[in-house]
Structures are given as structure tokens and as C-alpha cells.
């Protein structure tokens, strides 16, 4: 119950930042481990060493850039929720695009537009996935339940 009572918004930024860092560090770690292994000189010892080295150097960087993305995204998302007073998929998509644009701000307007589109599309995909997931789970849960035919008892009956 406490969970529902609390407003998610300002805290979510920290949450998302950390989540994104973890995701980036672990995912990037795996990726870099494979890459380091393949790029190292021959010999198992060399390869393991190269792999460990690549992970040590690159994984925190990747995690960091993920964290920047996640934190900025969540900040903009919360700002939009605050401004619009409404929570719907538009918030995510807009903030994804804005995050892309802001993070590419140093490379000129054209790159900003491209990056914004990438961010928007990416977030739209994620939202689509979320919508599909909720639909699917909703179907699973609600189909067997017999639907109450009458409108709920709370509104006063027909005026």
C-alpha cells in the first residue's frame, strides 16, 4: 500500500538512472568481454586477459552513457508529466526524442534531428511492447472472469 501512496515521479529519476547504469554495465560488459576475447592475440591466457581488460575499460563507460540517457529521459518525462498533468505514452515518446536531441546538441542541428527521431522511434517501440504486454496479460486475467453485466453499483441508478 505504501508503494501506491507514494508519488513515483521525482524518485523515478534516480531509479531509472541506476537501472540504466546497471543495464549498460552488464550488457556492455558481456559485449566487451566477447569483443576483447576475439581481438586479443592468440593463446587462452592472452585472450582472457584481453577480455578482462576490455570489460574493465569499456563497461563502466557504456554504463555511464546509459545512465546519462536514462536519467535525462526520466527527468524530461517527469517534467512533461508535471506540465501536462497527464500520463500517457506520448510523454515517453516525446521525452525519448528530446533526450536524443539534447544529447546530440553538440554535433549540430542535423544530427540533433536524426538523433531525436531515433530516440522517439526507440521509445515508441518500447511503448508498443508495453502496450502489447498489458493487453496480453489483461486478456489472460479477465477472460475467465464472468463480466458483471450491470454498471457498477456506485453511481446512483438511472436518473
Amino acid at each position: 500500500m505504501e508503494e501506491f501512496a507514494r508519488e513515483p515521479c521525482p524518485w523515478r529519476i534516480v531509479d531509472d538512472c541506476g537501472g540504466a547504469f546497471t543495464m549498460g554495465a552488464i550488457g556492455g560488459g558481456v559485449f566487451q568481454a566477447v569483443k576483447g576475447f576475439r581481438n586479443a592475440p592468440a593463446g587462452v591466457a592472452h585472450r582472457l586477459k584481453g577480455s578482462a581488460n576490455a570489460v574493465r575499460i569499456r563497461a563502466p563507460q557504456i554504463g555511464g552513457s546509459f545512465a546519462v540517457w536514462g536519467g535525462l529521459f526520466s527527468t524530461i518525462d517527469c517534467g512533461l508529466v508535471r506540465l501536462r498533468g497527464k500520463e500517457d505514452p506520448w510523454n515517453s515518446i516525446t521525452s525519448g526524442a528530446l533526450t536524443g536531441a539534447v544529447l546530440a546538441a553538440r554535433s549540430g542541428p542535423l544530427t540533433m534531428v536524426g538523433s531525436a527521431m531515433m530516440g522517439g522511434i526507440l521509445l515508441a517501440l518500447i511503448e508498443g511492447f508495453g502496450i502489447l504486454l498489458t493487453r496480453y496479460t489483461a486478456q489472460q486475467f479477465q477472460n475467465p472472469m464472468p463480466f458483471t453485466d450491470d454498471p457498477s453499483q456506485l453511481p446512483p441508478k438511472n436518473v
Partner: protein
């Protein structure tokens, strides 16, 4: 002397590679420069009787040629290493390449299909007037402009759906069902106003209008969840 052998080899290589950018005597001279280990003398020998442009051309071709000779020598040393493969591809290799390309094509197509499907779902959700999201947005507009709701909750009213584990509240819980051949949709979402600690649940049901194909509200009402419980009926078209 082995020099003549090498010269022959060079000739052969020139002939076999089919490139006629160099007459053979030049190659001989160049080979000589290679053997002498110095580049300038050979050049000056040629250059003394050639104009400058020819010299520079020679200079370029010479470099290409010497590389060729080195490769050839290598080839003779280790037969197994084939350095200058002809671009002919065996049919087995072609089949292999085609198979790989086909696999990549399938992967790309699957990716495009999944992306397209997800984008379709999102656009349907955002723009189709019968999607839960649109109905939610219309219901909220009705609730927000209702004077009694404003009086109870306080002016900036915000709305949200079900809270997920990750603190997202964008999904609105809804049920769609068919009654009497008409599609119905029930929505449930939550509102909060500026009054602290006051929360409301909005229930709404909408029915499809057969003529326009759009959803029309059957009822929208707000239930205040905190202690003095009451319901505010925003719209009742039953």
C-alpha cells in the same frame, strides 16, 4: 645467372596477370634496382632519357611492380599461402555466400517485421479514436472541466493509470466487451488534484455508435477514495 630466371618469372607474371601497363624491359630495370637495393640509381638511369611525366609514371608503376614480385617470391617459397588469388569464385563458395546472404536477409526481414508491428500497435493506440488511450484522454477532458470535480479536488487535476513496478503509470486498465452486438469499453483511471491526500477513481463506460463508429460515453463518474466517500457523476447517458 638467376637474374634471367627472375626476369622470366616477371614476364610470366605480367602475361598471366594480363596487365599490360608495363613493357618487360622496364620490369627488368626495376628488378635491377631492387636487387641493387637502391631506388635512385635505377630511376636516374631511366630518367636520363625520359621526360619528367614519364618518370613519374614509371615511379608509380615501379612501386606496383615491385610489390608484385615480392608476392610472387613468397608464393614460390610457401606453396600453401596463396597471396594473389584470382577473383574466380568456386561454385561451392557461391552457394555458401548465397546461403549466408539469405540468412541475413531473413534476419533483417524479421527485424523489420517486428519493428513494423510494434509501430503499428503504437500508432493505433495513439491515433485511432477507438483506442483505450484516446477514450481515456476524452474522459479526462470531461472530468477535468466538470465544476464539481474541480471543487472537490482543486484546480490542476492530473490523471494516471495503473502503477507498474517501475513507476510508470501510463497504462490505463480497461475492459472491452461486446453486448447486444455493440462494442463497449470500460475504463478505470485515477485523478488527483491540488488538495493533499485526496484521490479519486474515475470509472467510465463507453459504447460504440454504429453510425459514426466512434465511442460515446454511457457514463463517467468519479469516486472519491478518501474518507468522506461520495461519487460525482460527470455524465450519465443511460
Amino acid at each position: 645467372m638467376s637474374f634471367t630466371h627472375i626476369l622470366k618469372a616477371v614476364q610470366q607474371s605480367v602475361r598471366s596477370s594480363g596487365k599490360t601497363f608495363l613493357p618487360v624491359q622496364q620490369a627488368g630495370v626495376l628488378l635491377f634496382t631492387r636487387r641493387a637495393g637502391a631506388v635512385i640509381p635505377g630511376l636516374s638511369v631511366r630518367g636520363s632519357e625520359a621526360p619528367v611525366s614519364a618518370l613519374s609514371c614509371l615511379c608509380q608503376t615501379r612501386r606496383r611492380f615491385s610489390v608484385h614480385v615480392i608476392l610472387r617470391n613468397k608464393e614460390e617459397k610457401h606453396r600453401s599461402v596463396s597471396a594473389y588469388q584470382s577473383p574466380k569464385v568456386s561454385s561451392a563458395q557461391k552457394v555458401k555466400d548465397a546461403g549466408r546472404d539469405f540468412t541475413y536477409l531473413i534476419v533483417v526481414l524479421i527485424g523489420l517485421g517486428v519493428t513494423g508491428g510494434l509501430l503499428y500497435v503504437v500508432f493505433q493506440e495513439l491515433f485511432s479514436s477507438t483506442s483505450p488511450n484516446k477514450v481515456y484522454s476524452r474522459a479526462f477532458d470531461k472530468v477535468r472541466s466538470h465544476p464539481e470535480v474541480i471543487g472537490a479536488f482543486g484546480e490542476p487535476i492530473k490523471c494516471y493509470g495503473e502503477t507498474t513496478r517501475r513507476g510508470r503509470r501510463q497504462q490505463v486498465s480497461h475492459v472491452e466487451y461486446v453486448k447486444d452486438g455493440l462494442k463497449h469499453m470500460r475504463l478505470k483511471f485515477y485523478i488527483e488534484g491540488s488538495e493533499p491526500g485526496l484521490k479519486g477513481t474515475v470509472h467510465s463506460e463507453s459504447k460504440e455508435n454504429l453510425e459514426t463508429g466512434k465511442y460515446e460515453f454511457r457514463y463517467v463518474f468519479v469516486e472519491i477514495d478518501t474518507y468522506p466517500r461520495r461519487t460525482i457523476v460527470v455524465e450519465d447517458n443511460r
